[in-house]
Symmetry: C2
Subunit: 226 residues, 2 copies
């Protein structure tokens, strides 16, 4: 066990250095990278589709899709006419910065304002690895249950905001939004909790407003073009 | 990357040896170990509650609960009056056989017919590690979407049966049960797909029948008591 932990810590430390270098490189090309994490089926791809539809007149987007071995999600993004790069992780359960780096190498960064990284569908491992992103968010979907912040605290501590998706399911569950807000506040007091439904569109305006604010805040930190 | 893969393969190989030894030990004490895997919120604990309620007059049960750092699930099982042992995995995203072994050390195996291992809520990593169980099953819940076998094929290959839970959500989704059956059949042609709703109880009889069959089949392979 000790040996496993030592190896794990070494991998984490190396990843952290690579991630910081990647973030620096992105900042130099004035591209904001946003890492989106969630359980399988929480609605990561759909939230990206809605966000891109809402903001494509404002920003030039691309998406990096991480998947074990399918291109289901990348195909959906490509259908929007947006550049999509697929990371096939094989058995890998999360994205590390060397993977992000390889994927971004296939994109023309200076021509992009915002790249979304759709992480592997997993509420655990992705939260432990810096991907090189400027911003990380998590999605929790109503059918997963309101106890998830209690059971996966590392994820809810690792992000800047939590989207609660599939609010259209609320009537057929005992999901308690105020309980989720309290549980997340204990872990991460500054993280806004943004309830919405990608299916009905309800609440999407709150998310769009928040993400524009974060994108603009990151952009304002970029070095001036000389 | 190569180094990571080498370490990973060594861990897998050592785990496999320990898992086989554990399975042998369980067989000697005539205890069937069943590993239940799924995404967060797919209904693992609830399926175990329903199964134990339905079969507690027939078998003596215990449950090993793996969770990052809460006892939410173990508390639910204890409330049934069933022995529950908690593995707090910390950041660990899956159960390996050394963890199962430690947890089983807290149970009186000869007095137990069936132990359920509720694995960490994760559709990826748990599928790659033999826990020492005799039987492994996966749960896919309707709100997660019918594309999950395409995106997490390793899990759907690693199990003997797939429970499709939350069938009471079917009317409010575009989930296609026949598509799921076909996608799973491609990966794992012998695995039955068992649709049910833990909430309404619909379909539970099919699961109960299947699991009794598997428990009895494993028991028939146990060595005679001398």
């Amino acid at each position: 066990m000790t040996k496993i932990i030592e190896i794990h810590e070494k991998i984490l430390a190396e990843n952290q250095i690579e991630a910081a270098a990647l973030r620096e490189q992105l900042s130099l090309s004035h591209t904001v990278l946003i890492n989106v994490m969630a359980s399988p089926g929480a609605g990561k791809t759909t939230l990206l589709e809605r966000t891109i539809e809402g903001l494509r007149s404002r920003y030039r987007f691309a998406v990096v899709e991480a998947d074990l071995d399918s291109t289901v999600d990348a195909d959906k993004i490509s259908a929007l006419g947006i550049p999509a790069v697929q990371i096939e992780t094989g058995g890998f359960c999360h994205v590390e910065s060397f993977m992000t780096n390889a994927a971004l190498g296939e994109l023309d960064l200076p021509s992009l304002d915002v790249v979304f990284l759709e992480n592997v569908g997993n509420l655990i491992c992705p939260s432990q690895f810096d991907t090189g992103a400027h911003v990380s968010v998590a999605i929790l979907s109503v059918p997963e249950g309101d106890d998830k912040p209690l059971k996966y605290p590392i994820m809810f501590r690792a992000v800047e905001a939590v989207v609660v998706n599939k609010m259209d399911y609320l009537a057929v569950t005992d999901f308690d939004v105020s309980a989720v807000r309290k549980r997340i506040a204990v872990l991460n007091e500054d993280a806004p909790v943004i309830p919405l439904s990608c299916r009905t569109g309800g609440g999407l305006d709150g998310w769009i407003e928040w993400i524009i604010g974060r994108i603009e805040s990151v952009r304002s930190s970029f070095p001036e073009v000389s």
